[in-house]
């Protein structure tokens, strides 16, 4: 955490309200995001208990599992979830625009442009908290290797149709969420924490209710008080007034309300089974559906506040203007969505359990590039973020005091003007350090020559820097108009590059070096059945989790 954001937190403590950490919004919020509030069963390591899902804040779709250990009920839940999520994804997959992509021609080895489709917009998934993102990944992992009756008629427990497909999509979204700056799958707490500093620790900031209380407290209450209430207030039955955002539930809810309700459901089911087709069957059936309704109401009661909180958070975020370079990152998200759509359509198998060495290295490299790009873009979009970079000596704001024309000493001299600037910042510069400024949205680079002009005994000399512009001045002897700053211009320079280039290209999977396990499948130590297992469904046991 930089000193500036620490200061923001301290100011929040003093004022009792969250303080801004950004002046623009650094993530895309789709016009119609799909909000998913999942719940998981305590002690069952990821067995879903229920979910609210939908794009309409007033009409979420409620999905519940009355007995989380029952495989059929769980499958029915996942099937319903697929019916709620996949049509939403499909609407975006259909609307496309033509685009070009560079590809290597397999025959000539040259880079050629290929006409491809690009989805105009991408579907966005919002969950309440970071554990929600992990849960999406877990659901994805549990579903993508399942077999439906259509895939394999002999499978002992066929999954409902489209469940494996949902698993692949959730896996893709879960994976994409690990790319810095991506907006396909976002957690509401992460979004809010990026833009506001509260007067509590980052640990406590994971509580969506408390976080919102700091940012937008109810009338007449300080954020600190409201946050405390959100954390601790319980009603007379001992239940939290602001239930946790999940997926884990509050133990008091599990023990006092949920467990008896599930027991009641089990009893009703047993009674129904005992009654078979006898005279009491109809009555027992009514009892069973009443028990199921009880559970649905209970779960809806603890999920609804979270659902509303997520939408409240989105409202607050939408009030911020979007950063200019957010659209650029969103385009990458659209490519990611389109790419996976194409892989699914091409009938490729689900994502493997473990990435091979080359894929893993590629993912890591692209995430590092994305991280550096995100940091640069956020600083360029937002003066408050830029201030943090100025404080750390990675950027400076300056005023031009003098421009002297100079030329390079090559056969065809090109313009290399010397720009003298004055700054109050303290950038970490050494002779030859490259600095960048944005010129019509493109970076122009300069080289640091020396600090202070000829008058070295000037007391202010510390803040006077001489820079040599090195590019973007056209091909002619005279620099293109507007490409050289003039006296009095205020210019923001950065010591970091504005565009991130990826590292060197990685080899194809078939060329994996032996240091990294060699090409996949070539390893003699890998028995053939293990290779076949890569896409095989998980073995099923009597009491499996998901």
């Amino acid at each position: 955490m930089s000193l500036i954001s620490t200061l923001a937190r301290l100011e929040a403590v003093e004022s009792g309200r969250a303080r801004p950490l950004a002046t623009v919004r650094h993530r895309r919020i789709s016009d119609e995001p799909l909000v998913l509030v999942p719940l998981t069963t305590a002690g069952e390591a990821g067995a879903p208990l229920g979910a609210l899902v939908g794009t309409d804040r007033d009409a979420p779709r409620l999905l519940t599992v009355a007995q989380p250990r029952d495989r059929d009920l769980r499958f029915a839940f996942l099937g319903e979830l697929a019916e709620a999520v996949l049509p939403y994804l499909d609407t975006y997959a259909e609307v496309i625009e033509p685009a070009e992509r560079n590809e290597t021609d397999p025959e000539t080895g040259k880079r050629v442009k290929v006409e491809v489709e690009l989805c105009v917009d991408a579907p966005q998934l919002i969950v309440p908290s970071r554990p929600g993102i992990d849960f999406v990944r877990l659901l994805g992992r549990s579903m993508r290797f399942r077999r439906t009756a259509e895939d394999d008629p002999d499978t002992p427990y066929p999954a409902p149709p489209r469940v494996p497909l949902l698993g692949r999509w959730l896996t893709h979204y879960g994976e994409r969420a690990r790319v810095p700056g991506s907006s396909l799958l976002l957690a509401a707490t992460d979004l809010l924490n990026r833009h506001w500093a509260t007067g509590q620790s980052s640990l406590e900031d994971q509580h969506l209710g408390a976080l919102l209380a700091w940012i937008d407290p109810p009338e007449g209450v300080s954020g600190a008080e409201a946050a405390l209430r959100a954390e601790l207030d319980r009603d007379r039955g001992g239940q939290l007034r602001c239930p946790p955002a999940g997926p884990a539930t509050d133990p008091a809810f599990d023990n006092r309300l949920l467990a008896p309700a599930i027991e009641g459901y089990d009893r009703a089911r047993q009674a129904l089974a005992a009654a078979e087709d006898g005279p009491g069957a109809e009555e027992q059936l009514a009892r069973l559906s009443a028990a199921e309704r009880d559970i649905r109401e209970l779960l809806a009661g603890v999920m609804r506040p979270t659902w509303d909180a997520v939408w409240h958070g989105l409202d607050l975020l939408r009030a911020l203007p979007e950063g200019e370079r957010v659209a650029d990152r969103w385009t990458r998200d659209r490519w990611s969505f389109t790419g996976h759509r194409d892989r699914v359509r091409a009938g490729e198998p689900p994502q493997p359990r473990l990435d091979d060495a080359v894929t893993a290295a590629q993912k890591l490299a692209s995430r590092e590039t994305a991280q550096a790009q995100l940091e640069a873009q956020e600083a360029l979009d937002d003066p408050l973020v830029f201030a943090g970079r100025r404080l750390s000596g990675e950027a400076f704001l300056s005023e031009v005091t003098e421009v002297v024309m100079a030329y390079s000493e090559s056969k065809r001299p090109s313009p290399r003007p010397l720009v003298t600037v004055r700054t109050d910042d303290r950038p970490h510069l050494e002779a030859g350090t490259k600095v960048f400024r944005s010129l019509d949205g493109k970076p122009q680079s300069a080289e640091f020559v020396r600090s202070s002009a000829e008058d070295a005994d000037d007391n202010d000399a510390d803040g006077v820097l001489v820079l040599r512009l090195t590019d973007r001045m056209g091909r002619g002897k005279e620099p293109a108009p507007g490409s050289v700053p003039e006296k009095g211009d205020r210019i923001a320079w950065t010591l970091f590059e504005h565009d991130q280039r990826g590292g060197p290209k990685l080899p194809d999977p078939e060329e994996t070096p032996w240091t990294h396990g060699g090409p996949p499948g070539a390893d003699d130590a890998t028995p053939p059945h293990a290779r076949a297992e890569a896409h095989a469904p998980d073995p099923v046991t009597e009491e499996d989790f998901l």
Partner: protein, 328 residues
């Protein structure tokens, strides 16, 4: 409940499955012992002292017999801040070569060979304490050695089949050793309290109890919230004092000698503090930069496009033509 069922399954049949996992992960080539070869000593005894003595005896006998042995829920004692604490690992395995290995059975799943890092970390810290306690017993046992690698057993993927992984706990061991050595002894803490202080719930009123708790100093940090029942009390107190630790341990480190919110803000806004202090000067600079950026954003609203304006915000100087959407 699922955790218990899983643990029982792993240890069933005299630990056959557990032994198979252990030799698969730790012994390399040697085959697992046959089910009849594994001693499963009875460790029941009266009271914690009795059970720890019984455990020590069983460990000694198994080591001397040079045989495989599985100790199911042994009881170990470890001195913490001068008073004994009793620990009960899920299992300890004694191997014929005299090595003792701690086995920790957890109910969180190991999916595709990896589990939740936070949970594995917690399990490793827990196991390290068991290893420390075992080392005390091993000191008095000839030919015994405690392995610094423990076996973590978790359900595999979404099933309840066990999967095992070896966790190296050397780091956790040295951290725990150091922390135990540094702990203030309970007698010393007690000596500093007023005469007659008691935490006995049955014999004192709410106010007395609050006063008793108040009389003990606490070093609150947000991490306490996930570990301690008194954390909310300590947090309340730390917040009332304006301690900067309430925002996180890292914040405290950043702010040098300034320990309260009021002092930091006063220093940052020029009301107090020595300008020669590097922390104070950094704070003042940070505050000035933050105020400038916020004022600039507030004055101009959305950043203007491209124009280089003498008084404009930093963003407009950086330039902002829409450079998106060329997608390659």
């Amino acid at each position: 409940m699922r955790g218990n069922a899983f643990e029982a399954k792993v240890k069933a049949d005299g630990g056959t499955e557990l032994m198979r996992l252990l030799s698969e992960r730790l012994s390399g080539q040697s085959p697992p012992p046959a089910s009849g070869e594994v001693l499963v000593p009875d460790l029941s005894a009266a009271g914690p002292e009795g059970r720890t003595a019984r455990t020590a005896l069983a460990l000694r006998e198994a080591t001397e017999a040079r045989a495989w042995a599985l100790l199911d829920h042994p009881l170990l004692a470890l001195e913490v801040a001068g008073s004994p604490a009793y620990l009960e690992p899920d299992a300890v395995v004694v191997r014929p070569d005299g090595r003792w290995t701690v086995v920790e059975i957890k109910s969180f799943p190991m999916i595709d060979g990896s589990a939740d890092a936070a949970k594995v970390g917690a399990a490793a810290r827990q196991a390290a304490v068991y290893v420390l306690a075992l080392e005390r017993v091993a000191l008095h046992t000839a030919g015994a050695e405690v392995a610094d690698r423990v076996l973590l057993v978790c359900p595999k993927d979404f099933s309840n089949l066990p999967a095992a992984s070896v966790v190296d706990v050397r780091k956790q061991l040295s951290v725990t050793r150091r922390q135990l050595a540094r702990l203030t002894r309970i007698e010393d803490i007690a000596a500093g309290l007023p005469e007659g202080t008691t935490f006995d719930l049955g014999h004192c009123s709410g106010e007395e109890l609050t006063a008793a708790v108040e009389s003990v100093a606490a070093a609150y940090a947000p991490e306490c919230l996930s570990a301690c029942e008194l954390a909310f009390h300590c947090r309340h107190r730390a917040r009332a004092e304006g301690a900067v630790e309430t925002l996180g341990r890292g914040v405290r480190g950043e702010l040098g000698g300034l320990t309260t919110v009021g002092a930091v803000l006063a220093a940052a806004h020029g009301g107090a503090g020595d300008p020669a202090d590097p922390t104070v000067s950094a704070l003042r600079r940070a505050a000035a930069l933050r105020a400038e950026a916020l004022a600039a954003a507030g004055a101009s609203g959305a950043p203007a496009d491209g124009a280089v304006d003498g008084s404009g915000p930093a963003v407009s100087a950086i330039g902002s033509a829409n450079e998106a959407v060329t997608c390659r």
